[in-house]
Amino acid sequence: AVVSTQSTGAIVTGYKRGLRNQHSSISLLKIEGVDTKGDTEFYHGKRVAYIYRGQKARKNKVTKRETKLRVIWGKIRRAHGSSGLVRASFRTNLPPKAIGATVRVMLYPSRV
């Protein structure tokens, strides 16, 4: 699915975990179109945004507009495994309801 024209989509598959314990400070993302460890190199360091809605409209500090949309920013840290999954950490940990949700992977900071 095309999330936006200037970013790729990724699905949050869960937190970094062993079978019986999970570490919610690191989320695992499945980036669209990436299925090998080599492909993930492009995305290392790229910023990632989890966008969600709240009940109340708040003023966005950057655009100065009243909006119900809220963001949690993060970045892609490293590959996870050999099948293209990626570890990301966010400024505040992703809420569990984000599991299965789409997250936007920006194209910056760019190294191309």
Binding site: V2, T5, Q6, T8, V34, M106, Y108, P109, S110, V112
Partner: protein
């Protein structure tokens, strides 16, 4: 304390040779001309190390050079394709649409927020006045007590006349260079987008 002889190097004499009496006293001694002060701190203070660091602008990516077409990734002009003019001493890239073609004015941009394409434009020499000083914000004149409650009747134009003039000057140089290349003008008019099935890691810019 071991006395390091500086006499041999030809520097100003710091020690004086004095004859000493007594058979077993070695005959002569090196006495410092300037005596150490009677009171000195209990701990020797270290001299701070020399800072030999030279501030350089950020290392320019090998794919970026004057005349490269870049894709802006963030900000109001995200997705727009622009021409890189040069790297400023602050490290930022100076970029222009050109304004006539896609509405991007003379603007500074960080390398990290830009994708460099392999397309290049041959640029002529640019005016000397393209520096960081061009983008420095002008301080608002402070009002004294009387003027504080008086409405500012004269509106400051958002973009100074000199900037507009400089933009026209630069565009007059860049636009003909762009028109020389086939289809480049319409390329700069268009925006970079990702559509379904397109993945940036598979793309060659």
């Amino acid at each position: 304390k071991a006395v390091v002889s500086t006499q041999s190097t030809g520097a100003a004499p710091t020690h004086k040779t004095k004859q000493v009496q007594g058979e077993k006293n070695g005959g002569s001694r090196q006495v410092p001309l300037a005596k150490k002060p009677r009171f000195y701190p209990t701990e020797d203070s270290k001299n701070p190390l020399n800072n030999r660091r030279k501030v350089k602008p950020t290392k320019l990516r090998s794919t970026i050079s004057p005349g490269s077409v870049l894709i802006l990734l963030a900000g109001v002009h995200r997705g727009k394709r622009v021409v890189c003019l040069k790297q400023l001493p602050s490290g930022l890239l100076l970029v222009t649409g050109p304004y006539k073609i896609n509405g991007v004015p003379l603007r500074r941009v960080d390398q990290a927020y830009v994708i460099a394409t392999s397309t290049k434009v041959e640029l002529p020499a640019m005016p000397e006045s393209l520096t960081d000083a061009l983008f420095k914000r002008k301080a608002k004149p402070t009002k004294n007590e009387k003027e504080m409650f008086v409405e500012n009747t004269t509106e400051e134009p958002k973009i100074s006349a000199e900037k507009i003039a400089l933009q026209k000057e630069v565009d007059a140089l860049v636009v003909p260079a762009v028109k020389k290349v086939d289809m480049l003008q319409s390329y700069l008019r268009s925006r970079f987008t990702l559509t379904k099935g397109q993945f940036p890691h598979e793309m060659k810019f």
